[in-house]
C-alpha cells in the first residue's frame, strides 16, 4: 500500500477490482464503511457478484483476465473528456516528456511494442524478450529529457498514451470484457470524478490482479489512472495492494523473493563479479538536480547490508563475493524451482511454513516433482500434503525414495517479534503462550541449522566455506563455544535497524560506535554503518523499539496515528505525499491535508524528503523521489512487457484470437507449454474445456488451510471444496445445487460441491456466450475422511472434503514477477458418473 488501512476512510471513491475485501480482508471494511458513511461511492468490478459487491453502490461484471481492457477504456474516457488533473499531470508526471521517435506501439506494430526479439508464430510472437532501446526519452545537450509542457507534441507521453488507448473504445472494451456497455460507463463516470483536485479515489486490489500473465501491467494501468486523476500521495488515494498474509509485506521487505535482497536491493548477477560493478550497475543516474533520485544512495544501503552480514572485519569487496549470484538470464522463481526439481536438478528441499503440494500452480506437476527429492524438511505446525506427499493420491510409497523430516515450529502467538502489514506498519507483538512439545520459533530452528553447517564446514572444509564461516550472527547470547541457543527478536530488530560501527561525525554531529543509527539518512557507503534493511533504519533506535509504540492520538486528523507502531520509510504513513500539495506546498485537498508548508516547515505526515515546496526552485525536489526522473511514470519503460499496458489474452482463453491485435498472449512471458512435455500442457480455445476457471479464497480458510483445516469452528463454516457457477450453466449441464461434480482442466481434475447461484452471469464476448466458474484453493486430501489414516497419523476433529484447485491451474507466470496465472484458465465441469 502507498497508503494504509485506516486511510481508506478518507476516500471519495473506492474501486474494488481484483479483490474481494469483504471476504478476504474483512477488517478493511471497517474503514470502507466509514468512507461510505462519509458519502464515498463504492464500486465492485468482479467476474461474479460477491459479498463485496453486495455492499457497493455500483457493480460491473468482467471476464477474468480482461482488466487492462476495462481500465484502458477508462484511460480513454479520462483523456477524451479532459477529466485529468492537468497541473498534477504536467508537473508531477512524465506526461510532457518526449519519447524516442522510433518507439512503436501495438496498434501500429503487429500487437507488440518496438524492440521484440523472438519467434513469430500463427498466434503472434513467443519465446523472446524486448530490447528496450526505443523505450526512451529524447534528451537535450545536457542529457535531460526534452519536454512539451503544452502536452501537445505528438511524441510526448500524454499524446502517445492517447493514441495507444484510442483503440479501447467502450464498444471494443465491452466485446473483450463481456461487461455490458451500460455497466461500464457508470464505473468510469463515478471513478473519474476523483480527478478534481480536492477529491481522491483509491483502488483496493489483491491477487485478482496479480495472478495473470499480465499481472504487473494490470496494476500499472491503475497506476496511470491514479496519476492522471492526481490521486497519488493523497489521503484516500494511492495504489493499495491488499496483502494475502499478515506479514507478507514484511517478508517481501526483508528479501524473501529471489530477485531482491532486504530493502529492495538487487540480487547480484553472475556478470557482476565485483562490488564496484554491482553498485555501479544498480545505481540509477539522472542529470536533473531537481530530482532526488533516491536510489543514488544505493551504495550506502548495500554497504550497510554487507556490514550487517559480515561485519567490519571483512572488506566490502570480499563480503560481496560471499553473496550468491544469479545467472544473468535465469530466474529462480517458484515455477522455475519446481521445473528444476521436475528435471531432477534439485535433490533436497526445505519446505518452510509452506505447503507447495497444494499452494503451487499445476499441483500434479509439483507433487510429481517432489518424488525426485532425496530429502525434504517440512517446517510447519501440522503434517500436510507436502510432508506426506509420498502417501497422497496416486503415489506408491514403496517406490518413493525421499526421506522426510518434520520439524514442528511455533505459531505466531508463541513467539515475540514484529510483523509488517499491508500499510507498511511494523507492529511489535508479544508471546501469548509457550509452543507445545518440541516446537521452536523459526529463528531458533534457523540458528541451529546455521551453527550445525558452520561446524560441518569447520570439520570437513568445503568448496567455499567463507560465506558461512564468516557470517556474523549476533542475534542472542552465545555460550562459551560461540553458539547461541535462542534468538532474541529484539537483537534481530536492532541489527535490521543498524549500528554505527565506528565513531563518526556527520554534519557536525558526533555519533558513537555501537549506538543504533537513528535514520537511513545517516547510513554510509564507506562501511562505517551496518543495517540489515535500510528501509527499516529508524525502527529501533536509542529511543526504543518504535514498532512497540501504542500512542492512540491522531493530531493529523486524517487517521495517520503517527505514534502507533512504526511505518517504513521513516514513519511516513502516506508515501509520495509531496504530490498531495501544489507548488507552494498547499494541499490540493484542504479538508484532508497529508502535509502542508506552514511557516517554512512541513507539518502533518513525515514528508517525502525535507526540501521546501517546488515553487522555491533549485532547493526543492520533485515529488516521486524513488524514480530517477522524480516524476510519476505514465510512460513506464522499466517493465519487461511494455511501457504502456496492452490487453493480451490469458494463456488459456475461451477466444480464438485477441480481439485487439494479432498478438494472442503476452509475448514476453516464459512459456513452459512450448517444450512439448505433457506435464506443462496448455488448452486454449479447446471445446473439451469450454469454461473459464478461476481460483479464490474463502474468508473462513487461510492459504492451503494448513492451520484452518485443523480449526473445527472454521471447518464447520466451510467444510468442502466447492465450484461456484451460474444457474444458466448449471441448467445447461443438468447440475443441481449441492451436487458433487467433476471439474477438470488438461492438467488435472477434482471433485467439488456445486454452488449454483444467480450471482454469476454468463458473459457475451465477441458474440460468444462464455461461462466462468470459481474454486477456492484451501483444501487438500490430508484432512479428508476418505483417505487412509495410519495409526500415527493425527485425525482432524472435523473432516474436509476435496483437494486443492491448483490441480487445475497452469504453470505460467507473469512476464515481470513470474506469479502464476491462477485467475484464468480453461476447465470443463461435468456430472459425476
Amino acid at each position: 500500500m502507498t497508503n494504509h488501512w485506516i486511510d481508506l476512510q478518507n476516500s471519495d471513491c473506492i474501486l474494488m477490482m481484483g479483490s474481494n475485501p469483504v471476504k478476504n480482508h474483512p477488517i478493511s471494511f471497517k474503514w470502507v464503511m466509514k468512507a461510505k458513511e462519509r458519502g464515498a461511492t463504492l464500486i465492485s468490478v468482479d467476474p461474479r457478484y460477491t459479498r463485496t459487491s453486495a455492499k457497493c453502490d455500483i457493480f460491473a461484471p468482467l471476464r477474468s483476465g480482461t482488466d487492462i481492457a476495462f481500465l484502458g477504456g477508462m484511460i480513454k474516457y479520462i483523456l477524451d473528456s479532459n477529466l485529468y488533473f492537468e497541473e498534477y499531470v504536467r508537473e508531477y508526471t512524465n506526461a510532457s516528456f518526449l519519447v524516442n521517435p522510433d518507439f512503436r506501439m501495438p496498434g501500429e506494430n503487429d500487437g507488440i511494442f518496438s524492440g521484440f526479439i523472438g519467434t513469430k508464430t500463427d498466434e503472434g510472437y513467443v519465446d523472446g524478450k524486448y530490447d528496450k532501446k526505443t523505450w526512451s526519452y529524447q534528451t537535450d545537450e545536457n542529457g535531460l529529457p526534452k519536454k512539451d509542457p503544452s502536452l501537445k507534441d505528438p511524441n510526448c507521453v500524454l499524446q502517445l498514451l492517447k493514441k495507444h488507448y484510442s483503440r479501447y473504445t467502450p464498444e471494443v472494451v465491452s466485446r473483450i470484457t463481456g461487461t455490458p456497455k451500460e455497466k461500464l460507463l457508470p464505473v468510469y463516470e463515478a471513478y473519474c470524478k476523483t480527478g478534481k483536485p480536492d477529491k481522491s479515489g483509491t483502488i483496493m486490489y489483491a491477487m485478482g490482479w496479480t495472478q495473470h500473465t499480465v499481472g504487473t501491467q494490470n496494476i500499472r494501468t491503475m497506476g496511470i489512472i491514479q496519476l492522471l486523476l492526481g490521486n497519488m500521495g493523497m489521503a484516500g488515494g494511492g495504489v493499495n495492494a491488499l496483502r494475502g498474509e499478515s506479514n507478507v509485506q514484511g517478508s517481501t521487505d526483508q528479501g524473501l523473493l529471489f530477485h531482491i535482497l532486504p530493502g529492495y536491493l538487487k540480487t547480484p548477477k553472475a556478470s557482476q563479479q565485483t562490488y564496484k560493478d554491482y553498485v555501479d550497475q544498480s545505481t540509477p543516474k539522472f542529470a536533473d538536480p531537481m530530482s532526488a533520485n533516491w536510489w543514488q544512495n544505493y551504495a550506502k544501503y548495500s554497504a550497510s547490508l554487507l556490514r550487517e552480514l559480515y561485519g567490519a572485519e571483512v572488506s566490502l569487496d570480499d563480503a560481496y563475493t560471499y553473496l550468491p549470484k544469479m545467472e544473468d538470464a535465469d530466474n529462480y522463481s517458484w515455477l522455475m524451482i519446481f521445473e528444476q526439481l521436475y528435471q531432477k536438478k534439485i535433490s533436497g528441499m526445505l519446505a518452510w511454513g509452506q505447503n507447495p503440494a497444494c499452494s503451487g500452480a499445476n499441483a500434479n506437476k509439483t507433487r510429481q516433482a517432489m518424488i525426485n527429492l532425496d530429502w525434504l524438511v517440512n517446517v510447519n505446525l501440522f503434517d500436510n500434503e507436502t510432508a506426506s506427499f509420498w502417501q497422497g493420491p496416486g503415489m506408491d510409497p514403496a517406490k518413493i525414495k525421499t526421506e522426510v523430516f518434520m520439524l514442528p515450529c511455533a505459531v505466531s502467538f508463541e513467539k515475540e517479534g514484529s510483523l509488517s502489514n499491508s500499510g507498511r506498519w511494523m507492529q511489535w507483538r508479544y508471546k501469548a503462550s509457550e509452543p507445545p512439545g518440541e516446537a521452536k520459533p523459526d529463528a531458533d530452528i534457523m540458528s541451529d541449522l546455521f551453527f550445525h553447517l558452520k561446524e560441518l564446514y569447520r570439520e570437513k572444509g568445503g568448496a567455499f566455506p567463507e560465506p558461512i564461516q564468516k557470517l556474523r550472527w549476533r542475534y542472542g547470547p552465545a555460550d562459551a563455544s560461540g553458539k547461541l541457543h535462542h534468538v532474541d527478536p529484539h537483537l534481530v530488530a536492532k541489527e535490521i535497524n543498524g549500528y554505527f560501527l565506528e565513531d563518526k561525525i556527520i554534519n557536525g554531529r558526533q555519533y558513537t560506535k555501537g549506538t543504533l543509527v537513528p535514520s537511513f539518512l545517516l547510513l554510509q557507503s564507506d562501511g562505517s554503518t551496518s543495517s540489515g534493511n535500510w528501509l527499516y533504519c529508524n525502527s529501533y533506535t536509542d529511543e526504543g523499539n518504535m514498532a512497540a509504540r501504542r500512542n492512540k492520538s491522531d493530531p493529523s486528523g486524517i487517521g495517520l496515528y503517527g505514534g502507533w507502531a512504526w511505518c517504513w520509510p521513516l514513519n511516513r504513513r502516506i508515501i509520495y505525499n509531496r504530490a498531495s500539495v501544489d507548488k507552494n506546498g498547499k494541499p490540493w485537498a484542504p479538508e484532508k491535508p497529508v502535509i502542508d508548508w506552514h511557516l517554512n516547515v512541513w507539518r502533518g505526515d513525515v514528508p517525502d524528503g525535507p526540501w521546501p515546496p517546488l515553487a522555491q526552485g533549485q532547493k526543492s525536489r520533485y515529488p516521486f523521489i524513488m524514480l530517477p526522473e522524480g516524476v510519476g511514470h505514465i510512460f513506464g519503460p522499466g517493465l519487461a512487457d511494455g511501457p504502456f499496458p496492452e490487453h493480451y489474452e490469458p494463456l488459456e482463453s475461451p477466444l480464438d484470437r485477441n480481439p485487439l491485435s494479432p498478438q494472442f498472449v503476452n509475448p514476453a512471458v516464459k512459456r513452459y507449454d512450448r517444450g512439448g512435455d505433457s506435464i506443462n500442457i496448455r488448452s486454449s480455445n479447446d471445446p473439451k474445456y469450454p469454461f473459464i476457471g478461476t481460483t479464490y479464497r474463502q474468508g473462513e480458510h487461510w492459504q492451503t488451510g494448513v492451520m484452518t483445516r485443523w480449526t473445527p469452528w472454521l471447518v464447520e463454516l466451510q467444510p468442502d471444496m466447492t465450484v461456484e457457477m451460474g444457474s444458466d450453466l448449471a441448467d445447461e449441464l443438468g447440475i443441481k445445487n449441492g451436487e458433487i461434480v467433476i471439474v477438470e482442466s488438461s492438467r488435472g481434475s477434482l471433485e467439488a460441491v456445486a454452488v449454483v447461484t444467480i450471482r454469476w452471469e454468463c458473459f457475451d464476448c465477441m458474440g460468444k456466450r462464455i461461462h466462468q466458474v470459481g474454486l477456492p484453493w484451501h483444501y487438500g486430501w490430508a484432512t479428508t475422511a476418505a483417505r487412509n489414516y495410519h495409526a500415527t497419523d493425527k485425525k482432524p476433529e472435523l473432516f474436509t472434503f476435496g483437494d486443492t484447485s491448483n490441480l487445475l491451474t497452469p504453470n505460467i507466470g507473469d512476464a515481470n514477477t513470474m506469479i502464476p496465472e491462477s485467475k484464468c484458465f480453461m476447465v470443463n465441469v461435468r456430472k459425476r458418473s
Binding site: 474468508g699 454452488v755 449454483v756 450471482r759
Partner: protein
C-alpha cells in the same frame, strides 16, 4: 442493571461470520461436522451448539441482485412467551433478567423440551439430548453482567452489531431507518431486546 439491547443493522453486515464464531468461542460450543449444501450458509440450522447463525438471503430485487445477511438468534422478547409457558411448570427455569436477556437455567431440565420449543414464535431454542437441556443465545449474560459487550458485538468490525441501553439502541435504529428511507423497518419491533434494522419490508418474507 439497565434494560439493554443488541441492535443489528443488517445493511452493514458483510457476513464475515466473526460473530457466529465468537459466540462458539465464548460459550465453548462444539463444532458440528457439516457439508456444503450448495450454499455458504452453515451449519444448516440453529442447534444446541449453534446459537447465532448468519443466513444468506439471495434474491432479485427490481432487476438487480440483492444479497443480504441476517444474524438469526433469540429475539429476547419482552415479555417472553417461553417464560410464560415455563412458569406454568416450574418457576425459574426461564428468567427475564433486568438486562433484558432471556435466560434458560439448569432447571429447564425439569420441563418437557417440546413445550419450550413450541412456545417460541421464532423457532429459536434447540434441544440437546446429551444434557437434556434446551439452549439458545443468552445475550452473553456472563459478559454483560460485568460491563462487557456480548461476544458478537465485540468482534463486529463493520459496526453492524451494537450493544447498549435499549433506549439508545432504539434511537440508533430510528436514525438509521430514516437514513435508509424507503420501507426500511425495525424488526421484530419495540417489545424486544434484540432489534434489527431491515432495509426493506420484503426481507420479512425471508426471515
Amino acid at each position: 442493571m439497565d434494560n439493554m439491547a443488541i441492535y443489528i443493522d443488517i445493511t452493514k453486515c458483510t457476513a464475515c461470520r466473526a460473530c457466529q464464531v465468537a459466540c462458539k468461542s465464548w460459550h465453548q460450543l462444539k463444532a458440528e461436522q457439516t457439508r456444503n449444501r450448495g450454499s455458504h450458509e452453515n451449519p444448516p440450522d440453529l442447534s444446541a451448539h449453534t446459537w447465532n447463525r448468519i443466513r444468506y438471503i439471495e434474491r432479485v430485487k427490481e432487476g438487480h441482485i440483492s444479497w443480504k445477511f441476517f444474524s438469526d438468534r433469540c429475539r429476547h422478547c419482552d415479555p417472553p412467551d417461553c417464560q410464560f409457558m415455563a412458569d406454568t411448570y416450574l418457576e425459574g427455569a426461564v428468567i427475564k433478567d433486568s438486562s433484558g436477556a432471556v435466560i434458560f437455567t439448569e432447571k429447564i431440565k425439569g420441563i418437557d423440551p417440546n413445550e419450550i420449543l413450541s412456545s417460541c414464535p421464532y423457532n429459536i431454542p434447540r434441544y440437546d439430548p446429551e444434557t437434556n437441556m434446551v439452549f439458545k443465545c443468552n445475550m452473553c449474560i456472563d459478559r454483560i453482567s460485568y460491563g462487557l459487550q456480548p461476544a458478537c458485538a465485540k468482534v463486529c468490525s463493520t459496526g453492524a452489531i451494537s450493544f447498549g441501553k435499549k433506549d439508545d439502541m432504539l434511537k440508533l435504529a430510528s436514525t438509521r431507518i430514516n437514513q435508509i428511507g424507503g420501507d426500511a423497518t425495525l424488526y421484530p419491533g419495540e417489545g424486544y431486546n434484540t432489534l434489527w434494522v431491515l432495509p426493506d419490508k420484503e426481507m420479512l418474507k425471508h426471515i
